[in-house]
């Protein structure tokens, strides 16, 4: 266990930014801290770095309690949400800063910075000032600057937030690759689940200052432990009258359900396979999403989102279709349960 937070609480005025935050991180892992805006992600990161002091609880790094160790002595690299590059220094001096503070030899600094500039692919731009770089380039410089003093732990606050969509994808892959290559334990903050899923070994979901769930992306996706996790990860629609959906019945203690697009299959009425398990819906909207169609369908009053492959049957807005929901996440305030469409098995056993 490399990083451990034990029951951390933090209050700003009368606002509780962290409540009973506890989690552990293994050495060498890349962890994504995922949650909506204001859920306390930055606060957690800043407390680990020592820029903020928790009101109660303990933080351990590599077995040492660091609560009373000042930020400067924790050996942590930090990439700020807005990069915070030193605006009056060149790219070279930015990256060299931490090494100069450590009073490293000139030759060593030269070699290390050159190596890092090569790593981030900015050869020839050593003399530029931050404002002469693109967003993606600035991000890389911030990354290299944090890495230069060889930190044990790297913290990145929304490293891609200020970068446009296309570059972001490339940068994500690059970051993932580079962190693996350098082999440094890293935590990055994001509110974009796609980013978290793509980059992180494990995801920690935050919500209103609390940790909702920690696990691998696929695990969180398949087995959301809390109602929030079920709703937040993956595209989802929440409905209350789930027992009216064909193939589902009321389960005691669960008052609502989450439907993900992957749980929904639509076919032309004529091609319906499971009549007992399916309902009739009316197509309300169709959006082209690049590699698939996103279809909004009205199923007796509930608006449900589904995906349609491009080579599947084409629908039109207003068309009546057969809608099969084969799975649901039932939830209440505390728990989540996955249920399958009963009528599918039922039908199968009777007719085949």
């Amino acid at each position: 266990m490399y990083v451990e937070l034990k029951n951390i609480n933090k209050q700003f005025g009368d606002f509780q930014a962290s409540r009973h935050v506890s989690f552990t991180i293994e050495r060498g892992q890349l962890i994504g801290l995922l949650g909506p805006s204001g859920s306390g992600k930055t606060t957690i990161l800043r407390m680990i770095a020592g820029l903020e002091t928790p009101d109660s609880g303990d933080i351990f790094i590599d077995g040492v309690r660091v609560n009373d160790i000042p930020a400067a002595k924790r050996g942590i690299g930090f990439v700020f949400q807005s990069y915070a590059l030193f605006r009056y220094m060149s790219v070279f001096d930015n990256i060299a800063f931490g090494l100069k503070v450590q009073k490293k030899e000139q030759a060593f600094i030269q070699a290390r910075v050159t190596e890092l500039i090569k790593l981030i692919g900015l050869e020839g731009m050593e003399k530029r000032r931050p404002h002469q770089l693109s967003g993606g380039q600035r991000q890389r410089v911030a990354f290299a600057r944090a890495l230069a003093p060889n930190p044990h732990l790297l913290l990145l606050d929304e490293p891609f937030a200020a970068i446009d969509a296309k570059v972001r994808k490339e940068l994500r892959a690059w970051l993932r690759e580079t962190i693996t290559k350098v082999g440094i334990t890293s935590i990055f903050v994001t509110h974009d689940q796609e980013e978290a899923v793509e980059v992180a070994d494990e995801i920690i979901i935050t919500h209103q200052g609390q940790i909702e769930q920690k696990g691998t992306p696929i695990d969180i996706y398949r087995n959301p432990k809390t109602p929030f996790a079920a709703k937040f990860v993956g595209e989802s629609t929440e409905i209350s009258a789930y027992h009216q959906l064909p193939g589902f019945e009321q389960v005691d203690g669960f008052d609502r359900a989450v439907i993900r697009p992957e749980f929904v299959r639509m076919t032309k009425v004529a091609k319906e396979i499971y009549p007992h398990a399916s309902g009739r819906g009316v197509i309300e909207d169709i959006f082209f999403r690049g590699n698939a169609l996103e279809v909004r369908v009205d199923l007796s009053g509930e608006k449900i989102t589904a995906y349609q492959q491009l080579d599947d049957d084409a629908f039109e807005v207003g068309e009546e279709v057969s809608v099969l929901i084969h799975r649901l996440y039932l939830s209440n305030e505390q728990e989540v349960r996955m249920v399958e469409n009963l009528a599918i098995n039922h039908v199968g056993s009777v007719f085949i």
Partner: protein
């Protein structure tokens, strides 16, 4: 078409107004200063009382600059970096000199340090004279220009935030090193701008100085006070000649100010 006419008229009004109200008076000062010839001009500005007044003005401006630059940086740093109770009040208090007539400021100094003032026994015991002496002139100049540097720095530093300093601290840099390498370069232009405003204001200071200095010729008379005295004695040429020194300094300050403003915009962009 109509737009263009309106635009032309507005520009003309602006130019005319600037010319009548600002440029013409200054030009007239120079004209009167040189009216009785260059020789008279030079004898007026090299006359011992004029030189003494210029020296005192330069001295008091110099001290004011040092004190208010240091204080202004300190105040801006405290107000932007820390959260504390009464911060709003402190910020408002710093602005007091902006909203008080300088004559009243002068009277306040008399009330504190004058013969009837509560601080008089202390200064007397220490054998320092403040009122009707050079220290009083300097103190009022400091008081009057107190807010300029911090007023310039606070919004700028608030906009720039603390993250660069935090980043430096995380890499192990110490307070003063961070200040020298990160903070100072960041506030350089704002600071310079504040310093220029302070200079302009301190050199021209009249009201408070008139009250506190006692206007002792050759001893506590500043340049603006000296000019007014000459004027009251109908030594018009001499008054305008000495004025022209202040005018020239103002022009230099004006140019500096625009250079700094331009650089500030460039660095931001």
């Amino acid at each position: 078409m109509k737009d263009r006419i309106i635009k032309t008229i507005l520009i003309l009004i602006g130019v005319l107004f600037t010319f009548l109200m600002l440029i013409l008076p200054l030009a007239i000062v120079l004209f009167y200063a040189l009216r009785e010839g260059v020789v008279m001009f030079f004898s007026a500005i090299t006359e011992p009382f004029a030189v003494a007044a210029l020296n005192l003005t330069l001295l008091s401006t110099g001290i004011t600059l040092v004190v208010n630059t240091v204080f202004g940086m300190f105040a801006a740093w405290t107000i932007t970096k820390y959260r504390f109770r009464g911060k709003q009040v402190l910020t408002a208090l710093i602005d007091i000199p902006f909203s008080i007539s300088t004559v009243i400021a002068g009277l306040a100094f008399i009330a504190v340090f004058g013969r009837i003032g509560w601080a008089n026994p202390i200064t007397e015991a220490l054998n320092i004279r403040i009122v009707f002496a050079v220290p009083g002139v300097v103190l009022t100049a400091i008081f009057v220009t107190f807010p300029f540097v911090s007023r310039e720095l606070i919004p700028m530093m608030q906009a720039q935030g603390n993250e660069e300093e935090e980043a430096a601290a995380l890499m192990g840099a110490k307070g003063f090193y961070i200040f020298r390498k990160i903070t100072l370069p960041k506030m350089k232009w704002g600071l310079l701008y504040g310093v220029i405003l302070t200079t302009a204001r301190a050199m021209g200071e009249f009201g408070a100085a008139a009250v506190v200095s006692g206007r002792l010729r050759g001893r506590t008379n500043t340049l603006p006070l000296h000019i007014e005295m000459l004027f009251n004695e109908f030594q018009l040429t001499a008054a305008f000649a000495v004025s022209s020194i202040l005018v020239m300094i103002s022009v230099i300050i004006l140019i500096l100010r625009h250079v700094v403003e331009h650089r500030m915009k460039q660095e931001e962009g």
